[in-house]
Symmetry: C3
Subunit: 139 residues, 3 copies
């Protein structure tokens, strides 16, 4: 794994995340048609309502993960591949979240907690990388 | 066009996209005042409701397009300018979408379909660029 | 300040923004539990409703600020540190906005106006940087 440059790993995970997010939006559109919910209405059937929460929730999470991933990629700690790995685990957590939420809103908790742990790991990695870079710039 | 570096083209399109998005938010604020809809309420008049859907829908789309554009810019296929061109067409599609949606929610479909086609092109470009980069890294 | 490279300043502000946004989401989750608002419902208590508007509003703003900040960082005007400084002031404006909004929705205006001014400054900086880069590429 260390033979592959970390930016390529991060770009690959970013691509997978964008694809997953594209898919969550595609499902909302499909369920809008299936349950005949006309825009601009954004609710009307429990299945649609849940899918409609998964999509923006994923976008909200991307607003945390993508900036932290790329800060940690450009200002890495010595093991630069940990950041894209954490983002990949985050993506898996989002899939667990989506499957749980669609089955039952109460079952979204496992995925949401996994998501939160990955957020925190990426936050610590980005803080570590930025701290190292400031240390280097001020030395 | 090939004389201009692809990252500069992508940065220019990113600037235009950010400006367009800024404008969609500005319109929501204006219509909130015009129809006297007090925050935190987010609906109350059909014109406001439609504008209020255009803005987050644009943000949602940006969550797909900007990551794919920049993955495809940093890991380009040989014709690197196709990615910023696709993102520029996407921006035009968003303007078609906005104008259609404001006239009649059913008329948003043309712009939405053009948007989806641009999303798919950017996805394929990013997949192609990443595949080439992995091929190079593993060779 | 000019001794620190502008990309490191921008990355540091990006990290702070991602952390702030993480915090706005954390508060929504906490208030959801406090007021016992079960997903997928997204309203039910004024305090929750306001917190629930602050979070996506922050994300919406990030969709403007982060692309402009990074365009202005990679294509800087001579004083490259102005862009991360404007983004840092923007972050302070978001904190003013959040505190105002939670106290009373009408009190969000000060923070919202400060936010808008920072948006405009970043837009002008990005336009200036891109114009300089096009000038250089075409010269």
């Amino acid at each position: 794994m260390s033979a592959i440059p970390a930016p390529l790993l991060s770009a690959t995970v970013t691509l997978l995340i964008a694809f997953f997010y594209f898919y969550t939006g595609f499902r909302v559109g499909n369920l809008r048609a299936k349950h005949n919910i006309k825009a601009p209405a954004c609710s009307g059937h429990p299945e649609f309502d849940r899918a409609y929460r998964v999509q923006p929730n994923t976008l909200e999470q991307m607003g945390i993960v993508l900036p932290l991933l790329w800060v940690a990629t450009f200002y890495p700690i010595p093991w630069a591949w940990i950041a894209p790995l954490a983002a990949f685990v985050w993506l898996c957590a989002r899939i667990v979240y989506m499957r749980g939420y669609m089955a039952d809103p109460d079952k979204r908790i496992t995925g949401a907690m996994m998501t939160g742990v990955c957020d925190l790991i990426l936050l610590l990695l980005a803080i570590g990388g930025i701290a190292l870079a400031w240390h280097g710039a001020l030395a």
